[in-house]
Amino acid sequence: MPPSGDKSRVELLPGTLELIVLRTLTTMGPQHAYGIAARVEQVAEPPFRLNQGTLYPALVRLEQKGWIKGSWRITESNREARYYAITRAGTRALAGEIDRWQRSAGLINRLLTNEGD
């Protein structure tokens, strides 16, 4: 990872980005990489700025697994962009991924809460 001087930029936990991308595509329909990044930054509470280049490895991994599929389209502002759509395999996988995340997040939460007592 190249060092970054920008403190407000946040690195996500490994593996979470894929889940975020899948979820975003399910709720918003086909999106380009910028659109996904903008959505993530928008829903974050407190707001944070994503290193948008880090989206690309996640997109490649998902595409190679066959969970999303990319195609070129024209944006509303009349620019070309590569739009990613979730596939049926991706939708099926998302349920499992969410379940997995919630279980591990729940465990971490409980541990942190108990430690805090």
Binding site: P2, S4, D6, H32, A33, Y34, A37, A38, R49, N51, Q52, G53, T54, Y56, P57, A58, V60, R61, Q64, K65, G66, W67, T75, S77, R79, E80, A81, R82, A89, A93
Partner: protein, 855 residues
């Protein structure tokens, strides 16, 4: 499934790394454009918007790298890139790359091919179970001391009872004629067995069974066939067991067949128990083999049999054991060791070459490695790159080596003396290939990695700045290597030249008689023959002489190639001298004309020299010189221990000197006056002797149907056989010498080329300052010439030191032969100088000004 799918995609992207690159660039450009749009909408200037877009994306190149890491296998991709880089490097300096690959190929393949043949012919372990336990027992007289000899039956019986041997058996061979239904009468080598030979060897018949204890004790008429006889004479009939055959007229039954190449001795055609009469004779002709018991060292076995032998002979004889494997190869062990040493030296040469060539490249690239390090390449990454390059080089060398090796092996097998056992099974020796590959590749990799190992302590400037200084230090090391190469090549080439001269000498030898177009048919009348041998010989000669295509025919007890024969004590009548010994050679009257021995005095035998006439004899030149003291022989009379009465010498013939051996005093007598139980029919053909064999055999068969005619061969073949070992050694030594020469040439060229590379700048300065081309050329060539001279001198010393080990293979030429000692060093120096001049000319052809600007 998704992970497998992803794995395959990543692999695909290793093979096609640029497949997604364009799309990625386009996608990132679009991403930036969208970001810029957004920032401009927020009111930033175009330049500011661009800067913020860049920041938000975190850098285009970084994003691309992340994408590549995820879509492909990074390490595999690096490997692919390094391999292509290595190939590009090789194509940039094809001569150096080719030289290194060739050196590797020679070290791995050709060397293995030659070694395999040496190993196969001379070093194969005996084909028996646990061969290291097998020993052969020798006996010898203590006083007077006599040469190592075989063992008698009673000695064997005594040795068998000691507990140092788990098993012991004796065997002695003799030639007999085998007959039977549907069998042409055939000569066979019969091994007469005392004790259980097959279980001692741990080699049982492949078909049928071995001799039972009862059969051995009762000397039952049963035989075991060799695989070769079973195939050639019995058509590989699987139902051969139980078949009745005749051996010199006595009946015997086949009970088993040995596997191919099994059984002892190797030339035995069949085995049978030693008869009671043969045991009674107690001849000293048994080769005794013992299998030592567990944990019994050979020294203890030797002590034990020695004690027994002394006890049996009242201290007159002793006995000892020797490793069976060693006794079977002693006759060729000198040649074997010489050739093994040659193989080792060749391998050393190959390693030296690889080290020199790869080392030269490493020096050239120290600067490049320093630069890479300065630009942030990790040490591990640079190591990986250099390792890849070494592996690419080694793989090319290895593949070429295997091809060359297989090709050379086929050639060598075609050249080998006929008697390579299990010829069909011969294949490149995996262990030898392995050792060759391991040594050369380890050398290459170790030397190739040196710059990467230095990298940690390097800084950019020191790496680049010190290149030329280190090149000089390295080149001194390389000079020593090349000097050693020259020395080794001189030793090997001198050996090859000596052997070649020896072979020329053998080919040009005067045999004393004329072997061309001579054909011999071995005649074994055997115990079953009851007719008149003299009459049969006359009929055979008459039958052969009247055949078209035959110029002359004769009968003799021994061939003119056989100097050793029956010895008889003789005494010249009227001479006080103690009796001398001479070789008795019974021949028919036509013998001297047929084989081409010159009558120098008196007359030859004729048809009138019959049994009822006075005995006559003809002597050879050696007889006149050694026994008669050079005085006139014709008219002298002598007595001999092998016949009654006195014989008159009626003539003198020249000596027979097959293979340049000196003839012994010989006494020729007419076969009509001294009966013989067998011998040879010798015929001289008008043209190619092989073409008359069928008609000759048919004619002889009609004269004597019971005669075995299978041993019909050209007399010249026997002479060729006697020099087969020398010829084959010469071919192998020439092979090694050729390799050594090639490697040394590559080495000299490599040395000059790298020397020149290191001094490129200096030469350019000299040329620019007006030095003439010849002066500059001499500056480059001089150090090479010095190395060549030093290496050659060292090589001559080495060749002189190695001389004694080679002398046993040489005939008609001394190991210190001046011509041989001069040829190799001069030739190598010439080759070396040419290589140096060629390498130097390449530099001198370049423009000095350009060199200075770029260098």
């Amino acid at each position: 499934m998704p992970s497998l799918r992803r794995f395959l995609r990543r692999l695909l992207n290793v093979v096609l790394p640029h497949r997604d690159e364009d799309a990625l660039s386009r996608e990132l450009a679009a991403h930036l454009a969208l970001l810029e749009d957004e920032f401009r909408r927020r009111g930033l200037s175009a330049a500011e918007a661009r800067r913020h877009a860049w920041l938000a994306l975190g850098g285009i190149e970084q994003a691309k790298e992340r994408h590549r890491d995820a879509r492909s296998f990074r390490w595999l991709d690096d490997l692919r890139r390094d391999a292509f880089y290595a190939i590009r490097l090789m194509r940039r300096s094809p001569v150096a790359a080719l030289a290194a690959i060739l050196s590797l190929a020679i070290g791995i393949g050709l060397n293995a091919a030659i070694f395999t043949v040496v190993d196969w012919v001379l070093l194969r372990p005996l084909p028996f179970a646990a061969p290291q336990e097998l020993v052969r027992v020798f006996t010898a007289g203590i006083s007077p001391a006599t040469a190592p000899a075989a063992v008698t039956f009673s000695e064997l019986a005594a040795f068998s009872h000691t507990n140092v041997f788990r098993d012991a058996a004796g065997v002695s061979t003799t030639t007999r004629v085998m007959t039977g239904r549907d069998l042409d009468p055939t000569h066979v080598v019969i091994a007469r067995v005392a004790g259980d030979l097959f279980s001692t060897l741990g080699a049982q018949p492949a078909i049928g069974r071995s001799f039972s204890r009862q059969e051995l004790a009762a000397a039952a008429p049963v035989v075991v066939l060799s695989h070769a006889v079973w195939q050639q004479r019995f058509g590989a009939d699987p139902a051969v067991v139980g078949r009745a055959i005749g051996i010199d007229g006595s009946p015997a039954v086949v009970i088993g067949v040995m596997g191919p190449g099994r059984g002892y001795p190797a030339d035995a055609d069949l085995w049978r128990p030693l008869t009671a009469a043969e045991r009674e004779d107690d001849d000293r002709d048994l080769v005794v083999i013992g299998r030592v018991s567990d944990h019994v060292p050979p020294s203890r076995a030797s002590a034990e049999v020695g004690t027994i032998a002394r006890a049996m002979s009242n201290g007159a004889r002793t006995a000892w054991v020797e490793d069976l494997q060693r006794t079977t190869v002693t006759s060729v062990s000198a040649a074997l060791q010489t050739l093994l040493a040659a193989a080792m030296l060749t391998l050393v040469l190959a390693c030296a070459n690889v080290a020199a060539l790869v080392g030269a490249r490493a020096v050239d690239r120290a600067g490049e490695m320093g630069l890479r390090g300065a630009l942030g390449a990790t040490r591990r990454r640079v190591l990986a790159q250099l390792l890849t390059e070494s592996v690419v080089l080694s793989t090319a060398g290895g593949v070429l080596g295997l091809l060359l090796g297989q090709w050379a092996l086929n050639g060598l097998v075609a050249l080998a003396p006929v008697a390579i056992p299990r010829l069909a099974e011969i294949s490149l020796d995996g262990r030898v290939i392995g050792i060759g590959a391991l040594l050369t590749i380890i050398t290459g990799v170790a030397v190739g990695l040196a710059p990467a190992l230095q990298l940690s302590s390097e800084t950019l400037t020191s790496a680049i700045g010190r290149t030329s200084a280190r090149a000089t230090a390295r080149s001194n090391g390389r000079r020593i290597l090349v000097g050693a190469q020259i020395a080794i090549a001189v030793v090997l080439t001198t050996g090859a030249v000596l052997l070649t001269r020896s072979l020329q000498h053998l080919v040009a030898i005067d045999h004393g008689f004329s072997p061309d177009r001579l054909l011999s048919v071995e005649l074994s009348l055997g115990r079953g023959f009851s007719g008149d041998a003299r009459q049969l010989f006359r009929e055979l000669i008459a039958g052969a002489e009247t055949l078209p295509g035959i110029e002359a025919a004769a009968v003799a007890m021994r061939l003119p190639t056989q100097i050793v024969g029956v010895r008889t004590a003789i005494a010249v009548v009227g001479e006080a001298r103690a009796s001398a010994t001479a070789t008795l050679r019974p021949v028919s009257p036509t013998y001297f004309d047929t084989v081409g021995l010159r009558l120098t005095e008196g007359r030859a035998f004729n048809e009138a020299d019959l049994p009822n006439r006075s005995r006559v004899a003809i002597v050879n030149a050696a007889f006149v010189r050694d026994i008669l003291g050079g005085r006139s022989a014709v008219g002298a009379r002598l007595t001999a221990s092998l016949f009654d009465g006195t014989a008159s010498i009626v003539g003198v013939v020249s000596d027979t000197t097959p293979g340049a051996q000196a003839d012994r005093p010989a006494l020729y007598v007419p076969v009509a006056q001294l009966g013989i139980g067998g011998g040879y029919l010798i015929v001289r053909a008008a043209t190619d002797p092989d073409s008359i064999v069928p008609s000759l055999k048919a004619r002889l068969r009609s004269v004597a149907p019971a005669l075995a005619l299978d041993r019909t061969r050209r007399v010249a073949a026997a002479l060729e056989e006697s020099r087969a070992v020398t010829r084959f050694s010469t071919e192998l030594a020439s092979g090694f010498a050729g390799l050594a020469l090639l490697l040394a040439t590559i080495g000299v060229y490599g040395l000059t080329a790298s020397d020149v590379a290191a001094r490129w700048r200096e030469l350019a300065v000299r040329l620019a300052l007006g030095a003439s081309r010849s002066t500059a050329l001499w500056t480059i060539v001089r150090p090479c010439a010095a190395i060549l001279a030093a290496g050659a001198a060292l090589g001559v010393v080495g060749a002189l030191a190695a001389g004694p080990s080679l002398q046993s293979l040489l005939q008609g030429v001394r190991a210190t032969d001046a011509l041989a000692l001069a040829v190799a060093p001069l030739f190598l120096c010439a080759i070396g100088l040419i290589a140096a001049i060629l390498a130097a000319r390449r530099v001198l052809g370049a423009n000095p000004a350009a060199t200075l600007r770029n260098g």
